[in-house]
């Protein structure tokens, strides 16, 4: 008992929790994106896909519970590490020059809360309070035809892209996957996955706004 407790109490243990829960969410995000590609196959395909998911009750609720658990663990660990890291500096430097960090890494504390708000909005918009329950295609197209709603999705997915890039790279490092021979691929893989998902997700509201996808 002491041992398991010890891992979670350490900063490294909390980072392992961040990495594992993050990877669960990344896995979901990839699947979610691939499923949403049904938008381009037309109204019937997307609605059928949505009804199929709804009909698989144990899978649906299993996934929801797993995600709820992963989000909870991710947020609790992030908050615990964040509050610790805030205290660790003490006084701030008058002059500070960054040498190695990048935009995605520096903005994790911003992209994270933005994503949380976005996920809550997204769930309310399409899952909890949809305009036309059961008509997924119609909800998506009518929603994204509103430039404000499309803007929320575009902002959310840009935040997702940056968060994913640093997150995937970081998860590999945290879980100890670091080897001089493979490190270049690690970064390339993080860029490829986050770029593919972000550009793909951005294509949905943009296609609707541009009139490529209509009712």
């Amino acid at each position: 008992m002491q041992r398991a407790l010890t891992l979670h109490q350490t900063t490294i243990g909390k980072k392992v929790v961040m990495a594992l829960s993050g990877l669960i969410i990344v896995g979901f995000v990839i699947g979610h994106f691939l499923g949403n590609l049904n938008l381009y196959r037309g109204q019937e395909a997307l609605d059928d896909y949505a009804h199929l998911l709804q009909s698989l009750t144990p899978v649906l609720w299993g996934t929801r519970l797993l995600l709820l658990f992963a989000f909870g663990a991710h947020i609790v660990s992030a908050f615990s590490l964040w509050s610790r890291n805030m205290k660790a500096r003490g006084s701030r430097y008058k002059k500070h020059q960054d040498m190695a960090t990048d935009y995605a890494a520096r903005t994790m504390y911003w992209s994270g809360p933005i994503l949380l708000l976005f996920v809550v909005y997204h769930l309310l918009h399409f899952t909890i309070l949809p305009e036309h329950p059961g008509e997924v295609y119609r909800n998506v197209v009518e929603g994204f035809q509103n430039p404000w709603i499309a803007g929320v999705y575009i902002t959310g997915n840009i935040a997702l892209g940056f968060h994913l890039f640093h997150g995937i790279f970081s998860a590999a490092q945290t879980l100890g996957a670091n080897h001089p021979r493979y490190n270049a691929y690690r970064r390339d893989a993080a860029i490829a996955i986050s770029a593919a998902i972000t550009l793909g997700n951005l294509s949905f509201p943009i296609s609707v706004l541009a009139g490529f996808v209509t009712l």
């Binding site: 909390k14 008058k94 002059k95």
Partner: protein, 261 residues
């Protein structure tokens, strides 16, 4: 390289002790040879301060050869100053231009309370070493060099990790004031070598626990530590430390305290 003389404006952090709020003071460093080291430049400034009956700027230093890890300060926002892979004692004034303003600050971290001016108390790093950065063996006379063969590739890796001089620049440069690079280098160095195997799991657990207990932040993989490190200690050791800690949770050392812990 021909010698030139520089006139610089220094903005130096002055702080009387850990509880003093501290402030910047501005001093002129005039007629500084480009052949001087950065610490020699500070010696010149201090001579002038002493002659004028003022308190000299306190800074840590010992070997001035870049190997002891005593010196260290943040120069214009960069730990150990602008030259890569160089401690501040081996930073030379030829890296600066005439008329430049130079900002000098101590390592800023909750784990490193300021003793005076640019001197910080780095005994937290010593306590991390005391927690497990050693091997418990009977010493006696030196053993025969080839008694315990170690593959060249492993010996090289251990040496790379062992390059850490414990100066604390990683903590100073880290956005979270994390001591991960230091702790990781020490854990990795010993875990690679056969002598370090006996206490391998205990070491990972106790050193990480001490690192956290000292109030350092966690690693968020920015890579600032690696960029600031005067010895080029690599982020790969942090990944190895993480592996070592997770491994220590599922394994225990035979014949050590860990079974009873």
């Amino acid at each position: 390289m021909s010698e030139e003389l520089l006139n610089l404006t220094l903005h130096v952090w002055r702080q009387d002790g850990p509880n003093d709020a501290g402030r910047f003071e501005t001093h002129q460093a005039n007629g500084i040879s480009t052949h001087m080291s950065f610490l020699e430049m500070l010696d010149v400034v201090n001579e002038d301060l002493i002659e004028r009956d003022k308190s000299p700027i306190a800074f840590d230093h010992d070997c001035r050869e870049g190997i002891c890890g005593s010196c260290g300060m943040v120069v214009n926002g960069v730990a150990h100053g602008p030259q890569k892979l160089t401690t501040v004692c081996q930073l030379h004034m030829r890296q600066f231009d005439d008329g430049h303003e130079v900002w000098l600050e101590p390592w800023r971290a909750s784990g490193f309370p300021v003793v005076k001016d640019l001197v910080v108390d780095r005994s937290a790093l010593d306590r991390i070493i005391q927690a497990g950065g050693y091997i418990s063996i009977r010493t006696g006379s030196a053993s025969e060099a080839n008694e315990m063969p170690i593959a060249k590739a492993i010996a090289d890796q251990a040496m790379d990790a062992a390059e850490c001089i414990g100066c604390g620049a990683c903590v100073a440069a880290c956005p979270n004031a994390s001591a991960s690079l230091f702790t990781a280098a020490k854990i990795s160095h010993l875990s690679l070598l056969p002598q370090g195997q006996a206490e391998r799991q205990d070491r990972a657990r106790t050193m990480v626990a001490q690192m956290d207990a000292e109030g350092f932040g966690g690693c968020t993989n920015h890579g600032e530590c690696e960029a600031a490190c005067p010895k080029g200690v690599s982020l790969q050791w942090i990944a190895r430390m993480n592996r070592e800690l997770v491994r220590s949770m599922v394994r225990s050392d035979s014949g050590t305290k860990s079974g009873r812990r």
